[in-house]
């Protein structure tokens, strides 16, 4: 406890204990997914040294201001602070990534199974799902508690081809131009301020002209991937696409949804493939369960809409359109998204089949709000659809 530092006599020894304890808090938070640099250990001591050592409440406020960097860290801080500094709770709440349970401590059972199948289902045993539901296909309402097997995320066979394609795509995106300007050597419009500035060195003669050229700017991409059971054949493929694209583009956000919505950008961005897998594992509860597209899109609008979607954003939705929610909800959510986003593209793996018509109720509801409905079931069909996609995004 903190109140051990009150005797002045053996201040030195106690000081050392305190320093170690406080410094350990930084690594404790880091283990709990806080983005804290090692340099901040010194800051912790600095802040604590300014008073507050004897007042846990003050210490809490100061460390909170110092160590948090974003909203979700801010909300989780109090719990972690108590877990670390208050002895009775410590055992109950302490959790670290190294111990195998992340902050979303889920059961990590069987990890064998084939690509795209929920692990439990692939093993033949469904501990959290009743046995009967394993036979159900298509859209289903219930949430799956099974976890997916992410080993195939890094399979070498197709990975290179995917990466190459996505890099090509990213390079093409880079050439999209939007109406922003910057100063350049060539251009169509004179930059008067700059021209006059340059003329100063020539005694006031506008000898060197400065131009305004159009700045190239990529649109922001938001990917919403359906990972429900009916999509299980394709969801891994799309996740790999997303991972390759995330590596190639800076401004891209990726979400997976089934009955709930989960952000996976951070996990996909992790350069270490194994760590990336581990994080996805934690996020994958509900993988290959039912679908509620409308609800998930509405949740996206509510939680991320204002923050992520702006006038340069293209939203790419990947789904087969088998939805158990109300088509009305879907239409409303899409209409709302439509107003914020620049483009909405829907990739439907089923649309690659011959004779496909978007007749499902969800697709019918969605169609009026889409800029493009394109097929995309494998690499070849994605490649075919890419020019169309780029055209839509400009």
């Amino acid at each position: 406890m903190l109140t051990t530092a009150d005797t002045a006599g053996n201040n030195f020894v106690l000081g050392e204990i305190l320093v170690a304890r406080l410094a350990g808090f930084g690594s404790f938070l880091r283990a709990n997914d806080f983005r804290i640099g090692t340099a901040q250990a010194g800051d912790i001591l600095d802040a604590a040294g300014r008073g507050g050592l004897l007042e846990p409440q003050v210490l809490r406020w100061q460390l909170k201001a110092l160590l948090c960097g974003r909203g979700d860290e801010w909300r989780r801080f109090d719990e972690l602070f108590e877990a670390y500094f208050l002895p009775p709770n410590r055992q109950a709440l302490a959790e670290s990534r190294s111990a195998g349970t992340g902050r979303l401590s889920r059961k990590s059972d069987g990890r064998d199974g084939s690509e795209g199948m929920p692990a439990a289902q692939a093993e033949g045993a469904a501990p959290d799902n009743d046995a009967g539901s394993a036979a159900k296909h298509g859209a289903s309402q219930e949430e799956s508690l099974a976890q997916a097997d992410f080993r195939h995320l890094n399979q070498p066979d197709e990975t290179r081809a995917i990466e190459a394609l996505m890099q090509r795509f990213a390079a093409r995106l880079r050439h999209l131009r939007l109406r922003r300007e910057r100063i350049g050597a060539y251009g169509r419009r004179l930059d008067f301020a700059r021209t006059i500035r340059r003329s100063v060195s020539r005694g006031g003669w506008p000898f060197e002209l400065a131009w305004r050229e159009r700045r190239r700017e990529r649109p922001r991409l938001v990917l919403l991937l359906d990972v429900s059971r009916s999509m299980s054949l394709y969801s891994f493929f799309y996740l790999r696409l997303a991972r390759a694209l995330t590596a190639a583009l800076p401004d891209i956000y990726c979400f997976i949804y089934h009955t709930r919505l989960n952000g996976v950008s951070q996990a996909l961005r992790d350069p270490d493939p194994w760590r990336s897998q581990e994080q996805l594992q934690l996020l994958s509860a509900g993988w290959a369960g039912g679908t509620r597209i409308g609800e998930c899109l509405a949740a996206f609008n509510r939680e991320y809409g204002c923050a992520l979607v702006h006038s340069r954003t293209a939203v790419v939705i990947v789904s087969d359109g088998y939805d158990t929610g109300e088509p009305k909800d879907l239409a409303q959510a899409l209409a709302q998204l439509r107003r914020r986003a620049r483009r909405i593209v829907w990739l439907n793996p089923l649309a690659a089949r011959q004779g496909y018509a978007p007749v499902s109720r969800a697709m019918q509801a969605a169609l009026p709000h889409l800029d493009l409905l394109a097929p995309g079931a494998n690499l070849a069909s994605i490649e075919r659809v890419l020019p169309q996609l780029l055209e839509t995004l400009t």
């Binding site: 802040a47 300014r50 007042e55 003050v58 201001a65 960097g69 974003r70 006031g204 509510r302 923050a307």
Partner: protein, 295 residues
């Protein structure tokens, strides 16, 4: 207990300047003042992020220098610019001057011709000002990186003039609505505080502080109304600013209490609280009457 006393004192001082802060925010501000580090404030629109900087400036009796970020803001708009037109005039005027070119040039690139933009202004103040960098998330990454350099050593290099070092370190407050994820480097360099929608008690205190002429009953009812609106699934939830505007509007209309007979008058000035068409459609006369009945 000294620290706690200092925090409470700061909290009370802030309230004297019309800003109601929680104790945790006061603790953060105190840390900002004596570490000194930039403070990054995040939170929903209208919860009083900008007001923090204003209150801080009032409290320290210094200038508030504000830099409003926007998409496409560049270093020139934020730091400095040469006054080209005046420079040109000066060149023409100097043509007849017999001095050598080096002297002339030094003359032209002197501070007289420098237009100070907010950032340069902030670091050349004699008294440490409060520098408010509003909506930093709207600026692009390049500008953020530029800002990072300034915030770490508070100096700025102007090629023609040399390096300008801060005479006094400004107190920097950055606000963000998280339309874009800020870089980790920037977040690490700042203290952080997340402002949430206020609790009932806090909001009531704010309304009483800002509108002392409102009757206790009206203030209580208005705050309860706003709080229950925030519980609804609205596209744009009303912030504290909206509540304050609404109370002002009610006072202007001569409303003393909210009751079901007065629903019409409430509907009239609902546009102060509700900012989108969908939300407006959601709040029918019946819905409003229902909320008023519970207030």
């Amino acid at each position: 207990m000294d620290r706690m006393n200092a925090i409470v004192a700061l909290q009370q001082q802030l309230q004297q300047y019309g800003y109601v802060a929680e104790r945790s925010l006061a603790a953060t501000l105190l840390l900002t003042l004596d570490m000194p580090r930039p403070l990054l404030l995040e939170g929903e629109a209208g919860v009083g992020k900008t007001e923090v900087a204003k209150a801080l400036a009032a409290l320290r009796d210094t200038r508030l220098i504000r830099l409003q970020c926007y998409e496409g803001i560049d270093a020139h708009a934020a730091m400095y610019e040469w006054n080209y037109q005046r420079q040109l005039l000066a060149i023409k005027a100097l043509e007849s001057d017999g001095r050598d070119a080096a002297h002339k040039e030094a003359d032209i690139f002197s501070e007289r011709f420098l237009l100070k933009r907010p950032l340069l202004d902030a670091i050349t103040c004699d008294e440490p000002p409060v520098l408010l960098i509003d909506e930093i998330d709207r600026a692009d990454e390049a500008f953020e990186a530029y800002l990072l350099e300034l915030l770490s050593d508070f100096q700025m290099s102007i090629p023609e003039l040399g390096t300008v070092r801060a005479q006094s370190r400004p107190f920097v407050v950055l606000t963000s609505n998280s339309t874009r994820e800020l870089s980790d480097a920037l977040r690490r360099r700042c203290l952080y505080h997340y402002l949430d929608y206020p609790s009932f008690e806090k909001e009531l205190l704010i309304v009483e502080t800002r509108h002392p002429q409102a009757s206790a009953k009206l203030a209580r009812q208005a705050v309860e109304f706003a709080q229950s609106l925030r519980q609804m699934d609205l596209r744009k939830k009303p912030g504290i600013a909206e509540t304050l505007d609404w109370v002002a509007a009610l006072l202007g209309l001569g409303v003393t209490t909210l009751d079901e007979e007065g629903t019409d008058r409430i509907m009239d000035c609902l546009s102060v609280l509700i900012k989108t068409r969908e939300d407006r459609a959601e709040l029918t006369r019946e819905a409003v009457a229902r909320i008023v009945a519970t207030c």
